[in-house]
Symmetry: C2
Subunit: 213 residues, 2 copies
């Protein structure tokens, strides 16, 4: 693996910002988008369960119809690709078994050989651990990873919690799929007019957020 | 900014895995660690509020004492640097004001000029939006970003929810700081003996997790 220089990561994180205005005329090249999509599918999650689906919305009219349900934030319409990190409203034991089946499919062996692992998973599940909120937290792993990945390849993003979940879900047909939107992330290119692009980044001082023990 | 090739991100994500056994003899070089720490401090968050602190624990004895509170997972002791993503148990309006003050400090101007922004923040706060769970979700942005950043520079990590928060908090003196551990992330180098390193990664098929609209 060819390592990336640590300074490239810091540069990307300093370059990125929550894009307020996207240039609606620019589209992410297919090869770049393909990699970003692949990075989403590779996101780690607790137990590896991947309690999510990633909606990738390119349709302009559909995105336009989401604007009023997103506090009128134009980013969902003006970006190149809108990603909706959605999670299962209710995880079931069938979801655990689907994951076990996928393990067998990818790694070989039998589901029987994973009986101990399954028992552990079901035990955690039965304790009520895997709530919708827990799944939503997992989706934030994807959000964090995606924003960094995008910035490294020169793509702007805007993490977005400001939306009406019931409305967004309805417009996207998520209830029928047992899904609900956890968080949104428009991706594309900043507009030359976005004055937020040049504002200094506000982070607490390093020694205020890092505690050594 | 020198862009990273999309394939480098995919390579890093395929290289990484939830490290089960770290090589306790290896330490992350200071310059590399400094960048990773800086990447943590640059993590984006909702409204920019950064409702977190990142504990960086190098002390071996302290980490050894955490093992029994982490389901006996040796990674917290055998890694090079243990990161604890902690969040404020209770956000207050004073936290919002500290952020506003930091905005003024970094960008200039006056707090008065940000009165509208403050009013919006306090309005959201008053609706009970900024719960501990919300802060914990924000910490998962840091987790996702950190794991990708580490993998890009050849550092292994293991995201960890399997710990007893009350015990970990107590050992680290977090209650006195009004903090609680959201998630743990040991970082370091995989042991040559970790058989998990060579297992194929289990992810659902691309078309099962990506939904197009």
């Amino acid at each position: 693996m060819s390592a990336v220089a640590p300074s490239q990561i810091i540069d990307a994180l300093n370059w990125r910002y929550a894009t307020k205005a996207f240039d609606a005329s620019q589209v992410i090249p297919p090869a770049t988008w393909k990699s970003l999509e692949e990075s989403l599918a590779l996101t780690p999650s607790s137990f590896g369960l991947q309690p999510w689906k990633f909606l990738v919305i390119e349709d302009k009219a559909l995105r336009e119809s989401l604007v009023p349900h997103c506090w009128n934030q134009r980013q969902v319409a003006d970006c190149s690709h809108l990603v909706v990190m959605a999670v299962k409203k209710e995880l079931t034991v069938a979801d655990l078994d689907a994951f076990i089946a996928r393990m067998v499919e990818v790694r070989g062996g039998t589901a029987d050989a994973l009986a101990g692992f399954r028992k552990m998973l079901v035990g955690v599940y039965d304790q009520g651990y895997m709530t919708t909120q827990w799944s939503k937290s997992q989706a934030y792993i994807a959000l964090g990873q995606f924003m960094l990945a995008a910035s490294l390849v020169g793509i702007d993003t805007c993490p977005m919690e400001g939306f009406v979940p019931a409305k967004v879900d309805e417009v996207l047909g998520l209830p029928e799929l047992g899904l609900t939107a956890a968080v949104l992330c428009p991706a594309g290119y900043r507009s030359a007019d976005d004055r937020y692009a040049s504002l200094p980044k506000v982070r607490f001082a390093h020694d205020d957020v890092i505690i050594r023990r």
